[in-house]
Symmetry: C2
Subunit: 254 residues, 2 copies
């Protein structure tokens, strides 16, 4: 494979750092064996998306979770993109971090489109998107509900993003998001999208799995079902030229 | 994961043992990191499905390929199911072998339903199916075209198979096999099927990828696209009881 990306779909660690880092250790070891540039893990994997004490457990950017993730990335020689609850003074953000194989932060993102009353009561919204270099590709992160908003995907495409990495926590029965919406946005904006969901049940939420890696011609490079799965796919895909769209250049605002 | 199965979809090694064992080494290392019971690799991966000199290069069961596969399985602590060209006296078979994590042969199978004039000119057909224990599950192998014949799948289901492992070499444009036919046979016969295809081009064949792991309720536990991918999925799936069929007991021959 020339540009493998790995995607971990597993149950929530349920608030246990040990469970989280044990799962990440195995997935990173496997990803590294296949030469993956990065592993994408779900939303708020630290401490777990549907935990009751998110605010109390949120950690600062660069804190203990960050240090453990960086050490794990260095140990295996594989980057990681993962969601975590970020504490910044009085605010808590639904954030994602990208760490490279040397354990250095190369990207940081705060979810803009918070979903539903629970998220809006816990988190402050982010207000910016950004891109970063990932092994020569221009990469960016969005988190879950974000990727369902075409203008957000469009703003990243305009910024030159080749690849959007999306930690997510998508409950049943919403498989339409990864089966239909995400592939649609990938082809409409000519970007590769890797969408990493949970599976299993956490409190009152049962996640729908169905994680996906989709190419700019909407080719599904890999997808998961309802249960635990690790997907590693080469995103160095030759898109079907006849399918590539030019929405980015054709768009004519009203 | 409680019962992970890994599936390697890659290009043909093109007759190079070095290329074959390098690819298998990485895939087995990754599979073992996730605790996989076995890795499934494509049809005639040794020496490569569309090689011109299959007959001359075929090896006996238990020969040098076997020894190298057994050593690799032991090194990583993960089983392997793989297709190879088998020499037996004057005959050549399109065979698959199952080796466990201790490097011991636990299953051997010769393709019954040879496909097209080329296969029929090279290989003698097999004449039997069998099942074997794989970590407490009853497993069996079929090869490529075999799995498109309902009576063959049925005979394995009657023999108690929970899981059918299928090395394959399926060319474009036949994605209907893994997208439609294989899931249909899985739900009709209440078996899990793991179908491992090639991708890329080998001589005059371009393979269609689209490898799949499908559950007895036709849930797609993992699937690949047109390019290189390693899929690892937990097959300990709770099937949707409302979808499970009873064809095996209901069948009433004319």
């Amino acid at each position: 494979m020339s540009f493998p990306i790995a995607l971990w779909q597993g149950p929530s660690p349920g608030g246990s750092d040990d469970a989280a880092f044990t799962a990440l250790d195995a997935a990173l070891r496997a990803a590294a064996a296949m030469g993956a540039i990065t592993l994408v893990a779900p939303e708020i994997f630290l401490p777990g998306y549907n935990q009751p004490d998110i605010s109390a457990r949120a950690q600062r950017r660069g804190g203990p979770w960050y240090e453990r993730l960086a050490a794990l990335a260095r140990t295996h020689g594989c980057g990681i993109v993962i969601g975590y609850a970020e504490r910044d003074a009085d605010a808590v953000y639904n954030s994602a971090i990208a760490i490279n194989a040397e354990g250095r932060e190369i990207g940081h993102y705060r979810k803009v489109q918070l979903f539903g009353p629970r998220e809006k009561s816990i988190f402050a919204p982010g207000d910016a998107v950004s891109t970063f270099d990932l092994g020569g590709l221009r990469a960016a992160m969005l988190i879950c509900y974000d990727v369902e908003f075409a203008p957000l995907v469009r703003s990243l495409a305009e910024a030159g993003a080749d690849l959007i990495l999306v930690p997510t926590a998508n409950p049943e029965p919403n498989t339409h998001v990864s089966r239909i919406v995400v592939p649609a946005h990938a082809i409409n904006h000519s970007v590769t999208i890797a969408y990493a969901n949970y599976c299993g049940t956490e409190g009152d939420i049962t996640y729908c799995g169905a994680s996906v890696i989709v190419a700019p011609d909407a080719a599904i490079l890999a997808s998961a079902g309802p249960g635990p799965a690790l997907l590693i796919a080469d995103i160095d895909h030759q898109p079907d030229a006849a399918l590539l769209q030019t929405q980015l250049h054709d768009y004519r605002p009203l």
